[in-house]
Amino acid sequence: MIDAAANLLALRTRLLALSFAPTGAIEAAATATGYTRAAGSFLTDGLAPGMEATAAGFATAANNGTGALTAVTAGALTVTSYTVAVSGAPAGYTVTPRTLVVEAAAAGRSFSVALPALRAWGNVPFEPVAGMPWIEEDYLPGPSAQIGCGPRGEIEGFPQYVLKLYVPAGTGALAAAGYVKALLALFAPRTAMPLTGSDVLRVRADPAPYATSLVPVEPGFAALTVTIPLRIETLNAI
């Protein structure tokens, strides 16, 4: 039978692997408000205001971690840095501001963008935080039908995974576009997600995953939706 919980967990596992706009190992410095580099370009690497970037490789621990990009140029990132922890509070997460420490340029530093740390999973309390991007999911079980013969015949289902991306208002369109491009690549048509047994959840090719345009929503955010149509075949359990 179609196992909605197994499908959802497989989709989340894949979603959590989202990673894009990597700079690779570069020579970079930390300032009180962000990071700088002398060679290469943060813009060319795909970083944009509104994204949540992760810095790594700095000697000072406070300079490593996540932060919302508020401005991006070829040689500088302006960042609101913070640490996010899952909590039992009504908001679901605890966000602790982190102060960057000035650190001279050195090699071996890197930056990349992953899934926003604030995630509104289905039916879990959540409150967004101003200035931080976040993502929300809806899993749609969709219709199913038996397409094989007999009591153990094959059942075909068409669930969908709907991801809603919220980026801080006023940060432009590039952050959302970057997230969408990475999500569509992560869930490319015909992507297979093995489940328990012989069942496989696949991303459909027609309709293939698609995104909507960016629209202003509640004060402080703009949102768009990425829809991932899926197909699963399993055996009837009668």
Binding site: D138, G142, P143, Q160, E218, F221, P229
Partner: protein, 117 residues
């Protein structure tokens, strides 16, 4: 009776059937969005004042083109269940357009089967 006459009658029959399937598909697609459908799994539009549901219009701007449109400002918030959307209706729900789109091939199959041979 002639071969040319047979061909003409067959062509007219195919055209009538194709047109009937096309119109039925358009109508069932719109119905899936507004009223819901067991074929697509779409829940249909929620109804509070009926403004949203009644805002959906099916038009045929060209012989082989059907458009299903809404001018309701909050239609997308309901469709995508964006933050701030509240379901106050006992009928309908979110994501009806997505589910209808995903189930479109089955709507075509059903419309085709419903047209007499």
């Amino acid at each position: 009776m002639s071969f040319a006459g047979d061909l003409l009658r067959f062509r007219l029959k195919v055209e009538r059937r194709a047109n009937a399937v096309f119109v039925n598909v358009a109508a069932s697609t719109k119905a899936s969005i507004t009223d819901g459908s067991p074929i697509t799994g779409a829940p249909g539009q929620p109804v509070d004042t009926s403004f949203l549901k009644n805002s959906w219009q099916l038009t045929f701007p060209a012989p082989n083109v059907a458009e299903i449109l809404t001018g309701c400002a909050y239609a997308r918030t309901i469709e995508d269940n964006l933050r701030g959307a509240t379901l106050r209706s006992k009928v309908g729900g979110f994501h009806s357009v997505k589910l209808t789109r995903a189930g479109f091939p089955r709507l075509v199959e059903a419309a085709n089967a419903a047209v007499p041979q």
